[in-house]
Subunit: 358 residues, 2 copies
């Protein structure tokens, strides 16, 4: 919160979040419940809710805490999980997702939140919000549970693009640095570049190039470069931000999530094994809940699209009200810190490297 | 074990394993203890132990179960974790690692086991054992805990090479199929190709090419191709074998291990929280031990080098006696199933695809 402590004005007026109410696996009632939970916890947030008015109005009317804090913007179309991104870009006007992004494009809201189809959301965000000057490939950043004091590390890209060259990886470092600073209050984040070993001679050519570019940018950009890091460091404490291409990042987070689920299921089975273990699970209930909460993907729910003129937070498609509320909390935090403007300034300040590379 | 049931002769004679006693973080005493544990459990195994005779002789003398079942092959040099692979290839003659591989090259033993420097072990194995006909890039395969009935999936490559083209990925599929069949008794393994989504249009170009090659090879080679799989499927039940390049595979397993460690530490902390949770951990001791054993990297200790004239099992550098014993058990199983010969036949039977591709 230190990032906003010198800006009392940002606190006294309401933070407006643009929310796509449709497209999540759980339907709009869950999204409205998430808004409602956020409204109760944070009196500074208000909402523009996008979706079919006749569906949303009764849902909102049931929530007194949303009274006067929620504008419904009628949009009859819905982007489904099966819609192809290219098709949504061509024909998506009039959908709740399009409308939610439009509120950011029009500067009504500074951040949009959606539980919908990731590919379509990214494609629409790129087309409607446009890339920031200096950014070739936008990125999706997530918070991954870690042994660092802040409890999480920033990992990017986790799937905006399957490729990244050395220059893209440098931009990811700059964007990750802004995110760690504004999203987690880390003044001088430590940035690591993901590789198969920590020695400088290891890995692919573009990684060796990126190593040089990021190292040379560190001082001016206000981060510390810790060099190459490995897969185990994503949940470790040697770096606060882990930079990688979207292919590798996507597989890393899904492998991590799968492994966490496997262990969670193994534990649940174990506690059902005998009467002793059942008793144990009752005794340890509070402690186990704390661990489960710490690794609950709903709590860190929110991939953030970085590198666009406006910030978009992608919530899990399967998110429940807690997950949606958590994504809104993150969106509000980024809105309050004027994150997009700060990130734009940071990326623009970095020298272009394309010319010198080729 | 069905693979060897029609070969009683392989069971009546001893399976000879070549073991590099040096180079592990824990020193040769742990390696000898691992051999000893294996000898007690499996009366069919005997060993050639490579390392300085004056160091190994007293260690072996202390273990009556190794009497008459362990030949010591004097090798004074030791490859350390810091030695560069290229340097070991040039100057490594006379080291225990070189000597251990030489026993396989000379057909004394069919499988070698080492806890040493992975890069050096791979480089030496490639130079001394040579690649199988039809193999351009060898691979390292690991067993990853999964929800499948067999408890594990085969994942390869996890780091033999940072690149793999479509043809390499096809060979990995064939090698993975042989490994799943001989190492886990799966008659017709299901093979998945790791990608960022399951739709056929997703991912990088070489993956789309590999998708076609592997699909077309499936029937002849006796496996089922399930198409693209995602990171979460590495620990899932949609495939028995996951094929990927060594860069992605390496980052995936290290991310998974890191996440498992993070959760394990979180649980240990949780059980120390209060007197109730301490009591709970006593009550649930057996159940928790079972879970911890299931996800214990020492139990699945053994990356297997595939695609060479001879099989090499790489045990974790930090392995204790349980880990070493587990790597030896895997080596013995592969030796008994005449794994190398079967794999060579399988890979050679696949049509070359290089010409048709270019």
């Amino acid at each position: 919160m230190t990032a906003t402590s010198d800006q009392p004005s940002a606190r006294t007026q309401r933070t407006l979040i643009s929310v796509d109410a449709m497209g999540g696996d759980q339907g709009p009632a869950i999204v409205v419940a998430g808004c409602s939970a956020s409204a109760l916890k944070n009196p500074d947030i208000s909402f523009i809710l996008h979706g079919p008015a006749e569906t949303l109005e009764p849902l909102v009317a049931k929530r007194p805490e949303l009274k006067g804090r929620c504008t419904i913007r009628d949009a009859q179309g819905v982007v489904t999980m099966d819609d192809k991104p290219s098709n949504v870009v061509r024909n998506g006007k009039g959908t709740s997702m399009w409308s939610a992004i439009e509120s950011v494009r029009d500067n009504e809201a500074s951040v949009a939140v959606s539980c919908g189809n990731t590919g379509a959301l990214m494609a629409l965000s790129m087309i409607r919000l446009k890339k920031l000057p200096g950014v070739n490939r936008p990125a999706i950043a997530v918070l991954y549970p870690s042994t660092n004091p802040q409890g999480f590390n920033v990992l990017l890209d986790v799937g905006a693009d399957v490729r990244a060259d050395a220059d893209d990886l440098l931009r990811y470092a700059l964007m990750g640095k802004s995110y760690a600073r504004n999203g987690m209050d880390i003044d001088r984040p430590r940035i690591g570049l993901l590789n198969v070993g920590t020695e400088e001679h290891k890995g692919r050519t573009e990684l060796k190039e990126a190593h040089e570019l990021i190292r040379d940018a560190a001082d001016d950009a206000g981060f510390e470069f810790v060099g190459f890091v490995e897969g185990g460091d994503i949940s470790g404490d040697v770096a606060d931000v882990i930079v990688t291409d979207g292919f590798t990042g996507n597989i890393a987070i899904k492998t991590g999530e799968g492994t966490a689920t496997l262990i969670g299921n193994g534990l649940r089975q174990a506690f059902k094994n005998s009467i002793w273990s059942r008793a144990a699970s009752l005794l340890a209930y509070t402690s186990l809940r704390r661990v489960s909460k710490r690794f609950d993907p709903r709590r860190v729910n929110g991939g953030v699209f970085l590198g666009l003129n406006g910030t978009v937070v992608k919530s899990h498609g399967a998110a429940d009200a807690t997950g949606v509320s958590s994504a809104i909390k993150l969106a509000a935090r980024l809105a309050e810190s004027e994150f997009t403007n700060r990130l734009a300034a940071r990326v623009a300040a970095a020298k272009p490297t394309k010319e010198t590379e080729e």
